[in-house]
């Protein structure tokens, strides 16, 4: 658009920007001027609409400027400008394909501006922009609309969640996906939903439903969008959260700068902004963590969804999706199966086809198979698969990587469903620990150690190991039947009990130091407070009538009982030692007692739960250090949470392989400062410091000081008298005592 130069005198008059400024300063007095411009806008609009495609650049420019002016002051004259928003919407709806780029951008921007000034509401804005986003062929317009839509949704949800708006938009998106399953338009629904999910603006089940529908679309891109959301949406959400907390401000630095730099309104504002941000971050830190469910958990009817996905995209032989897409869908299906313990029997027979070493990306298939296995899958369904893997992958003739991956895959399956193994097969596989390849050895050993714990009878006696053999003898280790589940309980409740006991013992020990009578009194009081260390804070526990009644006495029985205590102590210590039969029996009983006691006889206070969490965390550290079986349980838990990947399957094959030179160099370089040129570590540190905007040390400053500037002082130093020298030296000593600071007087 060529902009014509204006004559100097005219400029004063014909400047819409200054008019806008004046109107906003004093809307009443400039009503007439505004009305003139409104008429001009109206005329220009008619000129434009009469022939939108052939309008001259001059006309477009004029129209652009007038649209801009009116958008900025529309809120001041609501009666006059009532039809304005509708004009813009109509313009955009009818002519978005032929509008000049700048004008189009201006119209969209003006609509958003009207929204910000509360002239129109979000719903009407979004319902205008969204259809255009979906239908326009222009890429720039699409990206513009997309950012505007996202930012408007963010804005309207910033103070409080705007449920009505969210529901409207979610319904629109849902309809978009479901109305035409073959079209590519559903991609926008997935993009918007994913972005808002990432920003935690939408966290409920409805967006998951939209994505669910997207997964069931016929268009590959839409399907990929939906599947990726379920597989990675939560991870990206967490990542985003970490990112947003990263960009914190250094308040000390800002303070320092404001102290030094010239004071100006702008700087003051920047300072206030920084303070606000820091305060906000502090507040955020103390806020309770928002309860965010993963998208996989929010799916309604996962069984039906998984079945549909499987039948539509995987089982259907007419489907022409690429292998990558199919693998992704498979991952989602198997994640769902593993997570919700679903039963899709035909899934397992479908797998058979792909379990050959020649299949592309077979490790992903193996990982998916492992994911799809859980303890409620009938062993009959998996057994043929395990045998097939063993036959195809594990043999003397096959490559070592293949064998390692095969054994590892079998192990991953067996972790989840140990009953899938036959005796002969296991014994055969375990023998691979005699192999020469380290990867194969490690995989076979892993399988062996797994079965030592879950089902040692299947192993040959010589491979069972000491613990398993003893466990078998004592009956401690026994085979789980199909469908058998652990009894439910509160995880870590025994830790809490132990903790409480310790606290009590400590108090008792203190009391022993006190005079007799006092100690008794205190002991009695403690007995009454038995049910919680802070029972006063908790209404239910501290009601007097209850503590007077017999309830508490029952519970406190055990603690005062000396032999009982001893017994508990013993099993606390003797857990790791080789237990004899009787002791183990007793320990079991004690354990059972303990669980029933705390959880069933008292109400856990919030403080209790906090402590419980803390103890659990501590215990986790222990588990990492030792205690293998718990470690494995955790591994399964982790896999249920995060899924098995192809990397997990390939891992043992990489063992014992030497890295190439480049890999080794990269490994050594990792985490070290970047060395483009040869430089000392000191110099690198210094440049880093400078880049961060930090100051140099006094020493550095002294070194860099211009020689000529120091010359005068040096000369004067030579000419000093003895007394002057002495004075200077004493001052120097005094300064060093003060930590190098100069006083004001000296």
């Amino acid at each position: 658009m060529g902009k014509r130069k204006l004559a100097a005198l005219e400029k004063v008059d014909a400047d819409l920007v200054s008019l806008q400024y004046k109107i906003r300063r004093d809307p009443k007095s400039y009503a007439q001027e505004f009305y003139d411009q409104w008429l001009a806008y109206d005329a220009q609009r008619q000129i434009f609409i009469a022939s939108p495609s052939t309008a001259s650049t001059d006309d477009i420019k004029k129209f652009h400027d007038l649209v801009d002016l009116i958008a900025h002051v529309a809120d001041l004259y609501p009666d006059l400008t009532a039809p304005y928003a509708d004009h813009l919407k109509e313009l955009l709806n009818q002519h978005h394909a032929i509008l000049h780029t700048e004008l189009r951008e201006k119209v969209v921007g003006s609509l958003v501006l009207l929204r910000r000034k509360d002239v129109i509401d979000s719903t009407s804005l979004l319902t205008t922009l969204f259809p255009i986003l979906v239908s326009t062929p222009s890429k720039t317009l699409r990206s513009l609309l997309y950012t505007k839509i996202i930012s408007d949704l963010r804005e309207s949800n910033s103070k409080a969640t705007n449920h009505r708006l969210n529901r409207t938009i979610q319904t629109v998106l849902h309809n978009l996906v479901t109305s035409d399953r073959t079209s590519k338009k559903g991609m926008w629904a997935t993009r918007i939903t994913r972005e808002l999910w990432r920003r935690q603006i939408w966290v409920d089940a409805k967006p998951c439903d939209v994505m669910k529908e997207a997964c069931l679309s016929d268009n590959e891109k839409v399907v990929v969008g939906g599947v990726k959301f379920f597989l990675g949406g939560d991870a990206s959400r967490e990542e985003f959260e970490d990112d947003s907390s990263d960009d914190d401000v250094d308040i000390r630095k800002v303070k320092h700068q404001t102290g030094i730099n010239k004071k100006s309104k702008k700087r003051l504002k920047a300072f206030e902004k920084a303070v606000d941000k820091v305060k906000k971050q502090e507040r955020k830190k103390h806020q309770p963590h928002p309860l965010n469910f993963s998208a996989l958990h929010l799916i309604h009817d996962p069984q039906g969804f998984a079945e549909q996905l499987f039948q539509k995209h995987l089982q259907n032989t007419k489907n022409k999706f690429t292998l990558d897409t199919k693998l992704m869908i498979l991952q989602l299906v198997t994640r769902l199966v593993g997570l919700h313990k679903l039963t899709i029997i035909s899934l397992y027979s479908w797998f058979v086809r792909f379990l050959t070493p020649k299949q592309a990306q077979v490790t992903s298939f193996l990982a998916s198979l492992a994911q799809a296995t859980h303890n409620l899958v009938p062993p009959d369904a998996i057994e043929p698969l395990v045998i097939k893997i063993a036959n195809e992958f594990v043999s003397e003739a096959s490559a070592t990587e293949v064998a390692a991956a095969g054994i590892n895959a079998i192990r991953e399956v067996a972790i989840r469903q140990p009953l899938c193994m036959t005796e002969t097969l296991l014994q055969d596989l375990v023998l691979y620990q005699r192999s020469k390849d380290k990867g194969v050895v490690m995989a076979a050993k892993g399988l062996q150690s797994l079965y030592r714990e879950v089902y040692p009878e299947l192993l040959q006696k010589k491979f069972r190991g000491k613990e398993a053999t003893m466990g078998l003898k004592s009956g401690e280790v026994r085979q789980r039947k199909f469908g058998e589940e652990d009894e439910g309980g509160i995880d870590g409740i025994e830790l809490l009990e132990q903790y409480k006991e310790d606290q009590r013992a400590k108090k008792l020990a203190e009391l022993e130091g006190l005079p007799e009578g006092e100690a008794e009194a205190k002991k009695d009081k403690m007995d009454e407070d038995e049910d919680g260390f802070n029972s006063d804070e908790w209404e239910v526990g501290s009601s007097d009538s209850e503590s007077e009644s017999g309830w508490i006495n029952v519970e406190s029985d055990g603690e005062d009982d000396v032999p009982d205590k001893k017994r508990q102590k013993k099993d606390a210590e003797g857990g790791g030692d080789a237990p004899d039969l009787v002791d183990a029996e007793m320990a079991k009983v004690a354990e059972a007692n303990r669980i029933s006691k705390l959880a069933t006889t008292s109400i856990l206070t919030p403080a209790d739960l906090l402590k419980l969490q803390e103890l659990r965390r501590e215990a986790k550290v222990d588990q990492l250090l030792g205690n293998r079986s718990k470690k494995k349980k955790e591994l399964i838990q982790r896999h249920i949470d995060e899924g098995v990947t192809a990397d997990d399957i390939e891992l043992p094959a990489t063992l014992g392989k030497k890295n190439t030179r480049e890999e080794r160099i990269a490994l050594a370089r990792e985490g070290k400062p970047n060395r483009d040129e040869h430089k000392s570590t000191k110099a690198i540190r210094k440049s880093k410091k400078e880049a961060e905007g930090k100051s140099t040390t006094n020493k550095d400053k002294a070194r860099k000081k211009n020689f000529l500037m120091t010359m005068g002082k040096a000369r004067a130093k030579n000419k000093r008298s003895l007394t002057e020298t002495k004075k200077a030296l004493t001052l120097h000593v005094a300064r060093s005592k003060n930590g190098g600071r100069r006083r004001n007087d000296s």
Binding site: A14, L19, A31, Q32, Y35, L39, A43, Q44, Q46
Partner: protein, 341 residues
């Protein structure tokens, strides 16, 4: 000392001989031009518009383009003069047609240069009226835009264009869609006699004086008088009694079987345009114009006129002319359709 050392070094550098090294290309001279590239097209930054002038059609088009697009005022003005010459010749030379000419030139109504606007008006005056008539609606749009322009000079010059339009196609001007009410609206807004501004604001300002930009200065008074004068002309044209159409026995059959002679003969049905509101509606005959004027504008304009009359001078004289026009409109036999209804 330090800096002078540096300067010395820099100076020396200029006169140092570049070292030649074995196996390396010689250093390029400072004024070396790289000619190794190949280009399919050459972009010339400055192009001259001078042609040999043999093809008059081509030259006409070129001049038209420069009248619209040239950045310099004088070029635009001169181009317009050339066009005027061409159009006023006998026979007039207009290879693009009046419609094409108007489409290109109408945006110039709100051109920033006075001389350009003056030439544009001259050019309009040499256009054949019969060919202007079909485009009245479009011209009016630009006229309305010009009348609401920020600069007073542009507004006043636009009034000239409106007057020209009333001269050449008065009937079409007042009867085309939006031609009656919208033009009235623009004119009264210029004068500051505006009912919608006061109502648009929640409360009236503490001063209710008329528009400050018009009155006060001597020039403002002149401009005001002129605006009132144009308003009077518009009303006169609108209220002109229609001459009865002579009886034509063939009219009925022509209506049914002949192709209509005028462009867009069914405009009043608005078959293809967007739906019109009251302002955009067309008021094809005198009675409908009078009725809508009485309903919407008479009170406002009479009030404004009284104020202007009291002012006296040029404005007052113009106001009395306006009163005359109003009276003419009022005494017309408007009552007959009213009594029928």
């Amino acid at each position: 000392m330090g800096s002078s050392n540096r300067k010395k070094k820099e100076k020396k550098k200029d006169f140092q001989k570049a070292k030649l090294k074995v196996g390396k290309a010689a250093v390029k001279a400072a004024n070396f031009t790289d000619t190794s590239f190949k280009s399919k097209s050459i972009v010339v930054n400055q192009q001259t518009l001078a042609g040999d002038g043999t093809d008059s059609v081509e030259q006409f088009k070129q001049t038209l383009a420069s009248a619209v697009n040239a950045k310099t005022d004088n070029i635009r003005r001169d181009a317009l003069s050339y066009l005027i010459n061409q159009l006023s010749g006998k026979p007039p030379n207009n290879p693009v047609g009046t419609a094409g000419l108007l489409t290109r030139l109408l945006p110039l109504i709100s051109d920033s240069a006075t001389s350009v606007r003056a030439n544009l008006l001259k050019l309009f005056r040499v256009l054949p009226p019969s060919q202007v008539k079909p485009h009245v609606e479009k011209i009016l749009m630009y006229v309305r835009g010009g009348m609401a322009h920020l600069s007073t000079a542009v507004r006043n010059d636009t009034l000239d264009v409106l007057e020209w339009l009333l001269d050449v196609a008065g009937d079409e001007t007042v009867s085309c869609p939006g031609g009656w009410l919208k033009t009235l609206n623009s004119l009264s807004s210029m004068l500051g006699w505006n009912p919608s501004v006061g109502s648009a604001l929640s409360s009236q300002g503490w001063t209710s004086g008329s528009k400050t930009t018009l009155v006060g200065t001597k020039k403002g008074g002149e401009a005001g008088a002129r605006q009132i004068h144009v308003l009077a002309r518009l009303l006169q044209t609108g209220f002109q009694p229609e001459s009865p159409i002579p009886y034509n026995p063939q009219a009925y059959w022509d209506n049914i079987y002949r192709l209509p002679a005028t462009p867009n003969p069914f405009a009043y049905l608005n078959l293809f345009g967007s739906p019109r509101d009251e302002d955009n509606e067309m008021y094809p005959d005198r009675i409908s114009r009078q009725r809508v004027f009485d309903a919407k504008w008479r009170s406002v304009i009479v009030a404004g006129m009284d104020g202007a009359k009291r002012e006296g001078g040029l404005v007052g004289r113009a106001a009395s002319a306006l009163k005359k026009a109003l009276n003419e409109g009022a005494d017309a036999p408007i009552t007959s359709p009213g009594s029928l209804a």
